[in-house]
Amino acid sequence: MLLYLIKRVVLAIAIVVVAVTLLFLMIRALPGDPAAVLLGPRATPEMKAQLHEQMGLDKPFVVQLAAFFGGLLNGDLGFDVFSRRPVADIVFEQLPYTIELILVSILWAVSVAVPLGCYSAMRRNSVIDQVVGVVAVATMAIPSFVVAVYALLIFAVMLGWLPAIGAGNGLWDRLIHLILPSLAIGISWVGYVSRLVRASMLEILGETHIRMARSFGISEWRIVARYALPLAILPTVTILGVGIAWLLSSAVFIEVVFARPGIGALIVNAVNTRNYPIVMGTVLVTTFLIVAATTISDLINGALDPRTREKL
């Protein structure tokens, strides 16, 4: 267990380090100058030089990189020259909104998709299975921001049932404000996860131990729920870990469409105002989130299967 854990964590750290280095290299390699971008076209060379010094851009690349890593270790993501606040403060202020949105979306999606996938596998090629299949592929294909705009148009603008924008205050109000955004993010996951569960369920249901359980007359529902699902769910756990990147991407659009606070709204704003430290900070935090989620889902996956649980 410990060895595997260490290996995973080392790999995760390596990925974060390479990611930071790549991002740094990219800033260097790409033609844009963050300081020039920040100051706009009418900046004088003196202003640029001053900002360069302030941002540490005048030092050699390796020194900058080392300084950045040093800062990272102290939880320092840099300084936002606009608001005169640490980038870390700003990013972590917005992060909970995004995480809340992602968690609610994925929770409802998985709790609908898993039973749906099981049912589709049990009644393979039935009318319901085929309809679910087509709808699933369709929902996976349609981009979340299109769904979001349509949902906004129908339920908020035309019907007026649900609030259109904002995150709400107080528990109940916040939940109401989460309905449309989480619907827009979750719907494609219902399709994806239900197909995934169906596919792995069909594979598991063909295995000998399932035939053995059937040979004892155990009911099909019990076989699916107790004998097959614990195995069939494993690919989904992996996908959810990897899928956090996809979820974060959707969240960017959804936060813009529904004018919600969060990481996505923050970075779109930062790009529009050319606030490079905020952009960089957001990319770093989200990259870290994704690596962490992938690692955690891998570990959960190992822990769910008794065969790997002990070897871990």
Binding site: V18, M26, V37, P143, A245, W246, F253, N272, V283
Partner: protein, 297 residues
């Protein structure tokens, strides 16, 4: 049950790769695949012949009233600047297709080369490239794209560059896995012993084996690319106005959602049809050519 399994594998072995005509026949049997072909053809034709189809200059302001409802003159109404929405939608299809073609094409080329390098090169290079692939794959999609755009400024080139970078690792990994498997196979060893050089082995044995799965993967990535392109335009980070683009039209519609629903519909429907069409086509192609190819590699 060994006999049953034998029967199943025997039956599966019968299906396999076929000629272009058998592919067409199988595609026709696959109803969603047929729908996909129809949608893709419809969109491609309307994009290619867009200048012949449009009824007004898509960028000319005030050819009609602002935010007009559809009429015979303005088939899909007009936008907030009085431009003809129908003409903008038709012309707007060119950008996503162009972006998909250029970005996936260059991504495929780079992925192929890096994958071959990783598979055939020394161990340390393999490990380094794998780490880089894994790193790029853990970049947060749109957020990473926005970061690049923040630096380069919003433009079509930025969008293409970002998509090419982020879609490359999957192709490279597929090539690497196939190359790795081939490298250790006996018949490559035999080829080598007969004096075949690495280039010859790559060209004759590796390329034909990897190109099929790669093209299926690419075809399945097209809807995602269309979605990203439209999404970035929707955020105002893609093509610059007044160039017509579906994402930009949807954004215009979103801004005036309380005044007119037509702009939202006109921007959203083409994106939906395009992503659906390419998805159905990609899934059908995968089912026909390689049922075992996993979507998440």
């Amino acid at each position: 049950m060994a006999s049953l399994e034998a029967i199943h594998t025997e039956a599966n072995a019968g299906q396999g790769h076929g000629s272009f005509r058998t592919v067409l026949r199988q595609l026709r049997k696959n109803r969603l695949g047929t729908l996909g072909v129809v949608l893709v053809l419809f969109i491609a034709v309307s994009a290619i012949f867009a200048p012949l189809i449009i009824t007004h200059d898509p960028t000319r302001i005030m050819v009609g009233p602002r935010l007009a409802d559809p009429s015979l003159n303005f088939l899909l109404g007009t936008d907030q600047l009085g431009r003809d929405t129908f003409s903008r939608v038709i012309m707007g299809g060119r950008i996503p297709l162009l972006v998909a073609f250029v970005s996936l094409g260059s991504s495929l080329a780079v992925g192929l080369v890096l994958g071959l390098l990783a598979g055939f090169g020394p161990r340390w290079l393999d490990n380094l490239l794998l780490l880089i692939f894994d790193t790029i794959r853990s970049f947060p999609g749109i957020i990473f794209a926005l970061a690049v755009i923040a630096l380069l400024g919003p433009s079509l080139t930025s969008v293409i560059l970002v998509i090419a970078i982020t879609s490359m690792p999957i192709y490279a990994r597929v090539v690497r896995t196939q190359t790795e498997a081939l490298r250790s196979s006996e018949y490559i060893a035999a080829e080598r012993s007969m004096g075949a050089g690495t280039n010859r082995i790559l060209a004759v044995h590796v390329l034909p084996n990897v190109i099929g799965p790669l093209l299926i993967l690419v075809s399945m990535d097209v809807p995602a690319v269309i979605a990203v392109e439209a999404g970035l335009s929707f955020l105002g980070m893609g093509v610059r106005p007044p160039t017509p683009d579906w994402g930009a039209i949807l954004n215009d519609g979103y801004s005036y959602i309380h005044e007119s629903v037509w702009l939202v519909i006109a921007g959203g429907i083409p994106i939906t049809l395009a992503t659906l069409g390419f998805t159905f086509l990609g899934e059908a192609l995968r089912d026909i050519f390689d049922p075992k190819l996993r979507k998440d590699l």
